[in-house]
């Protein structure tokens, strides 16, 4: 799973969001490092919908803008939990490696 895909899934784990909501949440989650464009976002959403991880939830029109909300499916929730666990394990191993090196011990 790419970092962008993980961040999109993570943004939907909290609550269903529309496209602009996902872009804002991803920006926040990545500490302003990942700014998704519309083409990238819909590419990710299309693939996640096809994989059964995300599904359209509801639609509303705000200020003349059509907003379609997306939510995680059970499969999507399981995938984001599994990816988080994998990243946690990776971070733990990374810390162990860094502690073994006295020059980087403070990391």
């Amino acid at each position: 799973m790419t970092e962008q895909a993980y961040l999109v899934l993570l943004s939907l784990a909290e609550r269903p969001r529309h496209g602009y909501g996902i872009v804002q949440a991803v920006l926040e989650l990545s500490d302003d490092a990942v700014r998704l464009g519309a083409g990238t976002l819909y590419g990710l959403l299309d693939r996640m919908v096809a994989a059964g991880m995300v599904e359209p939830d509801r639609e509303e029109i705000v200020d003349g803008r059509l907003r379609r909300y997306y939510c995680l499916t059970e499969h999507g929730s399981a995938a984001v939990v599994a990816e988080t666990a994998r990243l946690q394990a990776l971070a733990r191993r990374a810390r162990r490696v860094l502690r073994a090196d006295p020059a980087l011990g403070s990391a």
Binding site: G19, A38, I61, D63, R65
Partner: protein, 405 residues
């Protein structure tokens, strides 16, 4: 089948406070996406890009535009059909893309479809062309006629044939046939009223056509400088004579023949008048929808008459000898009076607004009551509720059968 099968895309929703120029810019760049994607997501995309853009933006910024183009082409690549079935579809017209109906529908709706459709067959030209060039001939691709053919293939379908080729393609590739399961993207054939042109709309055209031809033929008979003449051929040869150019015009005889034809037409016209004035002509037509003549039919009538009239006009100008035009004149002379009389009668007949042109033709020329029309059918995209059902025989009274298994 009266209009192009795929309606033009509806105008997009312009979000509040967003310049229409910005929406047009988004639409332009989002053409990288397949048509079906734009239909499903277009408004949502405009909303998102309006949220992301700077206030008052009049066009999409370069980064977003490039992102759309990249995303659009990635979507096209991701959703393309597999090569083998695609080649079978394109080259041999098989229904091998049954699992990619969305892609096929987009293919048929595309502006270049008529060209792509003939190109599949035209690809067979390549080996023939290569052989031809090896044998010392010039490449077909460097000839004007080839490119004229390409332009005709492109324009003929939508401009003149009313999207005929697209309708045929929908029938072949998208229509769920009897006994097939309806899938997302399938089209189905449903019962529809039979469309007929009203008598009041059609009769002025039906009267003007033979009158116009008759005038052209009379002019040819009066002005033609020469006529065809019979000439005996060698003894023993069949049929013993030939037609050659350059005979003197027997003007009196020719005009007399035309007058006789018109006289026969007048007799027919009085019969038509009596028949049309009989009471009780209207028949209940539950499966019929009356319509106007329409631009396409009118164009065809004008073109047909112009093509036919070219012959007597050419005869009158002396470009060809008077001959065949006389037969055309006889036919026009016999038909013109009843057509004019039918028009005049139907215009004033109470209740004739319900009559179709075919009814008047039958009453006038055959003398029988109008036929009751059976239903017709139209092709239409399947409703979501029909997806999954096995399609029954067209317009079965039972509706669609439930999916088996």
């Amino acid at each position: 089948m009266v209009a192009a099968p795929f309606p033009a895309a509806r105008p997009p929703v312009v979000p509040d406070g967003v310049a229409p120029a910005f929406v047009r810019s988004v639409q332009f760049w989002s053409r990288a996406y397949p048509r079906r994607w734009r239909a499903a997501r277009g408004d949502e995309l405009i909303g998102l890009l309006a949220d992301l853009a700077a206030p008052g933006a009049r066009r999409l910024d370069v980064r977003s535009a490039l992102d759309l183009v990249r995303g659009g082409w990635a979507t096209r690549l991701r959703e393309r059909p597999p090569l083998g079935p695609w080649l079978l579809y394109r080259l041999f017209g098989t229904r091998s893309l049954r699992d990619h109906l969305g892609w096929v529908a987009d293919d048929i709706a595309g502006a270049l479809f008529p060209l792509r459709h003939v190109m599949g067959t035209a690809l067979f030209i390549i080996p023939i062309n290569v052989t031809h060039v090896w044998a010392g001939g010039i490449s077909y691709f460097s000839t004007w006629s080839f490119w004229i053919f390409v332009v005709i293939a492109l324009s003929l379908d939508s401009q003149l044939l009313d999207g005929y080729r697209r309708w045929r393609a929908i029938e072949t590739y998208l229509l769920a046939r009897t006994g097939e399961r309806v899938t997302a993207g399938s089209w189905v054939r449903v019962r529809a009223p039979r469309r007929r042109v009203t008598a009041r709309a059609a009769l002025p055209w039906a009267a003007a056509a033979p009158v116009g031809l008759l005038v052209a033929c009379v002019a040819a008979a009066a002005r033609a400088p020469r006529a065809v003449r019979f000439e005996a051929t060698e003894p023993g040869a069949w049929p013993g004579f030939g037609l050659v150019d350059g005979g003197a015009v027997p003007r009196g005889a020719v005009l007399a023949v035309l007058v006789l034809a018109v006289a026969a037409g007048v007799v027919l016209a009085s019969m038509v008048r009596t028949r049309l004035r009989r009471p009780g002509l209207s028949v209940d037509q539950p499966d019929r929808e009356l319509e106007r003549v329409g631009v396409r039919r009118a164009t065809f009538v004008v073109l047909d008459v112009a093509l036919l009239a070219a012959l007597p006009i050419a005869e009158a100008l002396g470009a060809v000898p008077l001959g065949l035009g006389l037969w055309l004149g006889i036919a026009a002379g016999v038909l013109a009076p009843p057509a004019v009389v039918a028009w005049l009668v139907v215009r004033q007949l109470p209740g004739a607004g319900e009559l179709a042109f075919v009814d008047v033709r039958r009453i006038g020329l055959v003398g029988r009551a109008p036929r009751v029309d059976g239903p017709s059918s139209v092709l239409t995209p399947a409703q979501p509720s029909e997806v999954g059902a096995v399609w029954p025989w067209p317009w079965s009274a039972k509706g669609q059968t439930p999916a088996l298994g």
